[in-house]
């Protein structure tokens, strides 16, 4: 059996593909920035924050980490309208990714904070900094540096997981691929192309995160 590859459809479908790429990139950029910000806030609460807030954050984190992303997405997009909270597919997708990454990155960042030597907190305190000032100016950057590879991986995982937002008709790259293959009946080629695009995006994202780490964290001049 021989299979005749045909990529002739590619040029005509380019606009759809490009739009899908744009949406996927947009989803991951917004998701990463706000998800990690949420993760930092939650990690602060769980590691150093006020006692009364801890159970609230713990509940959120465990709820998200122990349920499927697809269900979280459905809950936000199909469930919340029953409470009168309606949003577009894209907003729902963004929100789901932020909430999801927020919970996972919370635990990763918390590990980084808890690995901080006690002397760092004491040095901050002895210089008359408040506990929060010490966290923000002293503890946070080395904590992020410690867990940066793990956090980067989690961001890439969320980016790849964003494929499921096509299920609520958010027009991301997977949605575009599904749409194209339903028109050209060239499922094999279409998914080869979309796979390669995801692969390229993931590698690019990893490079971007490595570069960001390179900028954020100090390096010895000799290294």
């Amino acid at each position: 059996m021989t299979y005749q590859f045909d990529f002739g459809w590619l040029i005509g479908s380019l606009p759809v593909l490009l739009k899908g790429i744009r949406i996927t990139v947009q989803l991951i950029l917004i998701g990463a920035v706000f998800g990690v910000a949420l993760g930092i806030a939650c990690a602060w609460v769980r590691a150093l924050g006020p006692k009364w807030l801890k159970p609230v954050v713990a509940t959120y984190v465990e709820l998200i980490r122990n349920t499927p992303f697809l269900i979280q997405l459905f809950f936000i997009f199909f469930g919340l309208p029953s409470l009168g909270i309606r949003m577009s597919e894209l907003t729902a997708a963004n929100l789901a990714m932020i909430v999801n990454l927020g919970a996972y990155s919370c635990e990763i960042i918390r590990a980084g904070i808890q690995a901080t030597p006690r002397g760092q907190f004491e040095a901050g305190a002895s210089l008359a900094m408040t506990p929060f000032q010490t966290f923000w100016h002293v503890v946070l950057v080395p904590a992020l540096q410690r867990i940066w590879p793990a956090l980067s991986s989690q961001i890439v995982i969320v980016m790849l997981g964003s494929a499921v937002v096509s299920q609520i008709a958010a027009e991301d790259l997977t949605f575009a691929a599904n749409f194209i293959q339903s028109r050209n009946f060239r499922a094999f080629e279409t998914y080869i192309v979309s796979t390669l695009i995801y692969l390229a995006l993931a590698i690019l994202l990893r490079q971007l995160l490595a570069g960001l780490g390179w900028m954020l964290f100090p390096r010895k001049a000799s290294r």
Binding site: G119, E122, A123, A125, S126, L127, A128, Q133, H137, A221
Partner: protein
Amino acid sequence: MSLIAITEVKKRFGDNEVLKGISIDVARGEVVAIIGKSGSGKSTLLRCINGLETIDQGSIVVAGAQFLPDEVHLKALRLKVGMIFQQFNLFPHLTAGGNVMLSQMVVKKTPKEDAEAVARKMLDRVGLAHKFDALPDELSGGQQQRVAIARALAMQPIALLCDEITSALDPELVAEVLAVVKELAAEGMTLVMVTHEMRFARDVCSRVVFMHQGRVHEIGAPEDVFANPRTPELRQFLGVQ
């Protein structure tokens, strides 16, 4: 009036009472060495003066700032007494200069240029002006400890607490740190230091406190304490018969 007034301070960790009623007064410009075996409570006492440990009874007042365990009082107290640690505790993500600038900008809201000027001056004072842009990782232990001293000095404290600041250093690096401390003492800085450097305590300090089992066991001028130890515990500690 004394600069640091420690009155009947008691402190317990669970069932273990580590400070059993300590009273010491330190005058302005005095250099006090606290010596004693490990577990005698000397480090705990020092940490209480900076509010890093709470106290169960008694009072600590530094130049009018009373130690009370709330943020306002702690800040007032810590602005008056700086602390230097055995493990240096420099901030690893900041340069030497950045370490000295940070608390000035965060706590005192000093503008960056002014904070930098102070940082350069303080690093110069500890002989490290040329290391302004070096990361802690790139410095030797002795240099790191001198940066830590500069960092504490930049807050313009009226007293400095030194918690075994040469104990984590290689022997050949001890001298450079002690030289800086000696200079500070000569300039009239009030110093309270927990130390194992007996020779330094004898040469530089105005008073020596020997702590034993959570109490001030002997206190006096170094020539008395070292030459004529009155109690068997101190004699044993000093290794004299």
